[in-house]
């Protein structure tokens, strides 16, 4: 049961406003420019140099400096379902961050374990789309995690198609088909996770999609996709009221502070004798210059 609606987005964010982007500030999911995935309500929390392995682990484990704003924290508790989606270049046991560093599968497993120890999640859906993606979830050992990877160890994940206007491949195969599936899911949808896990068969993806369900306690056939996507909240009708006493309130609102006041009605300020401000006497440079 998802109680939480919070998205933390960590991307290098150098695409949308890249000088080579012919459609500035827009990133589309395919060459036909169907969906602008960089729309008005996208909020990038960690961009550019802030996307580091350290920051990622800090966000997951909650060990952020006290000055970190709320929007950059993962405020989850023991009833939150968390979706972690990672993509990029990767290999057997690692994922590259920004061409400079890597996160290893063991660090990831330790981070999840620390989250579990501190009851920071109820269930996790971990989706990873890189080459040899399966290796990243093989070392996980904390309960209630369902892992989906776009390729097995030894396989490469391939991109889907190129946008010749930009000159790069715009989307990976697994992500493309997963996005296609999810675009059709509405908040009331009854689609199950096992249907989501079957997205992108080998014919479409060329790589084999790997799934790890042994740590997950519920049966994926009985879990709704909206448990992880779409944040459908649990509500209860509240029939109770507390009887309150309203005595002695006549005239309260008029006697309370007025919201605004003008120069006459506000408390008159005492006239303070203010010294006229002026510059301090400057260094008499001219006198010295005259000498010469």
């Amino acid at each position: 049961i998802a109680y939480f609606s919070q998205i933390i987005l960590m991307i290098a964010d150098d695409m949308a406003c890249n000088p080579r982007n012919p459609r500035p500030a827009m990133v589309f999911n395919n060459a036909n420019e169907q969906i602008n995935v960089y729309g008005h309500d996208v909020e990038v929390d960690y961009r550019g140099y802030e996307v580091t392995v350290e920051n990622f682990i800090r966000v997951m484990t909650g060990r952020l400096p006290p000055s970190t704003p709320r929007s950059k924290r993962l405020l989850s508790d023991d009833r939150s379902n968390i979706l972690v989606y990672m993509t990029g270049h990767g290999g057997d046991g690692f994922l590259k961050f920004q061409d400079a560093e890597e996160i290893s599968s063991i660090e990831l497993a330790d981070a999840f374990e620390q989250m579990w120890q501190k009851q920071r999640y109820h269930e996790v859906l971990f989706i990873i789309d890189t080459c040899q993606a399966e290796s990243m979830y093989q070392k996980l050992y904390s309960p209630n995690i369902l892992g989906v990877a776009s390729s097995r160890v030894g396989e490469d994940s391939l991109s889907h198609h190129v946008d010749s206007a930009i000159g790069v491949y715009v989307i990976d195969r697994y992500t493309y088909y997963a996005l296609e599936f999810l675009e059709k899911v509405t908040p009331e949808s009854k689609k199950t996770l096992s249907q989501f896990l079957k997205v992108c068969p080998k014919s479409a993806c060329v790589s084999t999609v790997g799934v790890r369900t042994d740590l997950f306690q519920r049966d994926p056939k009985k879990v709704l996709v909206t448990d992880f996507f779409g944040s459908v909240r649990n509500v209860e009708l509240s029939p109770y009221t507390v009887t309150l006493n309203d005595t002695g309130d006549t005239g309260d609102s008029t006697a309370s502070d007025r919201e605004t006041c003008s120069a006459d009605s506000c408390a008159p300020k005492k006239k303070i004798q203010r010294k006229k401000m002026s510059y301090v006497d400057q260094f008499p440079v001219e006198q010295f210059l005259k000498r010469r």
């Binding site: 049961i1 109680y3 909650g62 501190k118 509500v235 209860e236 509240s238 507390v242 309370s256």
Partner: protein
């Protein structure tokens, strides 16, 4: 001269040997310990064994129950039998797995003053008030049950139980016979065990805060926000058509008059910060159905979950780290007025509101449409009292106050703070146990983490916080055993703040995962170029000494 010439290669060789040995000596005796000491990580010693002890320790929570008998005619033997029965009834399964709730009973006759108060009271509220005035000390966690002999004036016949405003319960006993006394036992037991001290809920909270998983979903435990030293409350007014209705709300007065007493009552236990805002042109995204019979628009419970998410982003994220509870008042648009929430039986709910666990609540406030020829926008006022009545009830539920119903009893109405004192006691006990369990579990997993990973630096302030947390937990255990609820709560609050601070300290990040082979990769380029020549020279030196020995033998 010939001698010295002959001995000079020997002499060179011996100097070589001794200097090689000297270098090797410096390397091993001074260099290795120096390197070891300087590459050590700074780790303050933590009380690991004490933490393990605390995790295994049983928490004992005492509850004091006093029974006051007004009727002097009751036989002493009957009284003691009644006491035994009650004690037996209250014991039983009083907690499991680390939590034990002990009921301490005290049976006494009423004092002179109390008898006089009973004689002159006109009704139960009077009696309650006067008896409370006698009590001098604030007694958190101590409940009193006054058993009143047959008195038709006070108990006019509707019910024989009256739950007072503070911690007193007045029971009507028709006759001083033993059967009547014993009939009170099954009445007292649920009131004490399940309502005042909700043993089942306390055990569940304690277990889940200690880290046990619960597969089955329990509404009550999932509803309340986690324990925190402070909470933020935000009131929002959503007006989607400000051009038609100029909705005014005197939220300042509403909060000062109706919410402030609640906040003040909790001030020493938790700080509550209140904010308010108005949002214009924000609609709730849904299509209500139209009830043709009475021209109402309605939403059923299945439609409600999707209402909150679209507006949540607009409610604004706030600065503090406290959990935020949002209370939203929505004025339906003119084409969807009046808007009601229907329950399963298709009746409009009394409060027209719903709450979302750990988030807040929404109230649909219907306003009359403006008349034909009034100038738009028409001025309307939000009814603060009605709004606050609903929101205060929701706030209580979201903070963890009990929703106990007493089907057979009359319950005194609370004052404007909305809290009855026994509810406050329940909340204090509940939060104290949650804090204790949670901070013990935090410390235990922190200790485990630090023991497992040898290269995390442990700073002084982490050591201080852990020490402080451990002391406060110890103190809290003692206070809970003595039923000093208020002090126990305050020390448990200290404990949880300190333990969270220690656990989430940013310096505890094990950033570099160093597998052993990577360590070799770092040290080999540094030490190998030095150690190979030194090592070879030492071998030469050993050969030289062996050679010398052989010569000596020869």
């Amino acid at each position: 001269m010939v001698e010295t010439k002959k001995s000079s290669p020997r002499y060179d060789k011996s100097t070589q040997v001794y200097s090689a040995l000297g270098v090797a000596f410096v390397c091993i005796v001074i260099g290795v310990p120096l390197w070891w000491k300087t590459t050590e990580t700074y780790r303050v010693s933590l009380p690991y064994s004490h933490i393990a002890e605390l995790a295994a320790k049983e928490t004992i929570c005492s509850v004091d129950v006093t029974i006051v008998i007004f009727d002097e005619r009751i036989d002493k033997k009957d009284l003691s039998l009644f006491g035994e029965n009650l004690k037996e009834a209250l014991e039983g399964t009083s907690g499991s797995s680390g939590l034990k709730i002990k009921f301490r009973g005290n049976l006494r006759d009423a004092y002179e003053d109390e008898q006089m108060i009973l004689k002159r009271s006109l009704n139960l509220e009077d009696l309650d008030r006067e008896i409370d005035r006698e009590k001098v000390l604030e007694e958190h966690g101590k409940y009193s049950f006054y058993i009143i002999p047959a008195n038709d004036k006070l108990f006019p016949g509707t019910s024989d139980i009256y739950i007072g405003r503070r911690r007193n319960v007045y029971l009507h006993m028709k006759s001083p016979a033993l059967e009547d006394l014993n009939r009170l036992v099954p009445i007292l037991k649920p009131i004490i065990r399940d309502k005042f001290v909700n043993v089942a809920a306390l055990v569940k909270t304690f277990e889940s805060a200690s880290g046990a998983q619960h597969l089955e979903t329990d509404k009550a435990s999932m509803r309340a926000v986690h324990s925190n030293p402070g909470y933020d409350v935000t009131f929002t007014l959503l007006n989607p058509q400000p051009d038609i209705l100029n909705v005014q709300w005197d939220i300042k007065r509403g909060v000062e008059k109706f919410l402030q007493p609640f906040i003040e009552k909790l001030m020493q236990f938790a700080s509550i910060t209140v904010k308010s805002q108005m949002l214009y042109y924000t609609r709730l995204a849904f299509k209500p159905k139209h009830d043709k019979n009475n021209g109402r628009y309605f939403l059923k419970q299945e439609d409600l979950p999707h209402l909150i998410n679209p507006i949540e982003a607009k409610l604004g994220s706030h600065v503090s780290n406290n959990p935020n509870l949002n209370f939203v008042v929505y004025i339906p648009t003119r084409d969807q007025s009046p808007l009601h929430i229907y329950d399963e039986k298709d009746f409009p709910t009394a409060t027209n509101s719903f709450l979302s666990p750990r988030w807040g609540g929404v109230l649909l406030h219907n306003m009359p449409s403006p008349q034909e020829n009034t100038t738009l926008p028409a001025q309307v006022q939000v009814d603060m009292k009605a709004m606050m009545e609903v929101f205060l009830a929701q706030l209580k539920m979201l903070l963890g106050f009990p929703q106990a119903a007493f089907p057979q009893a009359d319950v005194a109405l609370p004052d404007n703070s909305g809290i009855l004192l026994w509810e406050l006691d329940y909340w204090l006990r509940y939060r104290t146990l949650e804090n204790i369990a949670s901070s013990t579990a935090t410390l235990k997993s922190l200790a485990q983490l630090l023991e497992q990973i040898g290269n995390i630096v442990i700073n002084d302030d982490i050591g201080r916080e852990v020490q402080h947390a451990v002391e406060e937990i110890d103190k809290c255990h003692t206070l809970l055993k003595q039923n000093k609820l208020k002090e126990a709560f305050l020390s448990s609050k200290e404990a949880i703040v300190a333990s969270e601070k220690a656990f989430f300290d940013p310096s505890l990040l094990e950033l570099l995962y160093f597998p052993e082979d990577q360590k070799f990769a770092i040290y080999i380029p540094l030490f190998l170029p030095i150690s190979i020549p030194v090592f070879m020279s030492v071998i030469q030196a050993i050969k030289y000494f062996r050679g010398k020995d052989k010569e000596k033998k020869e």
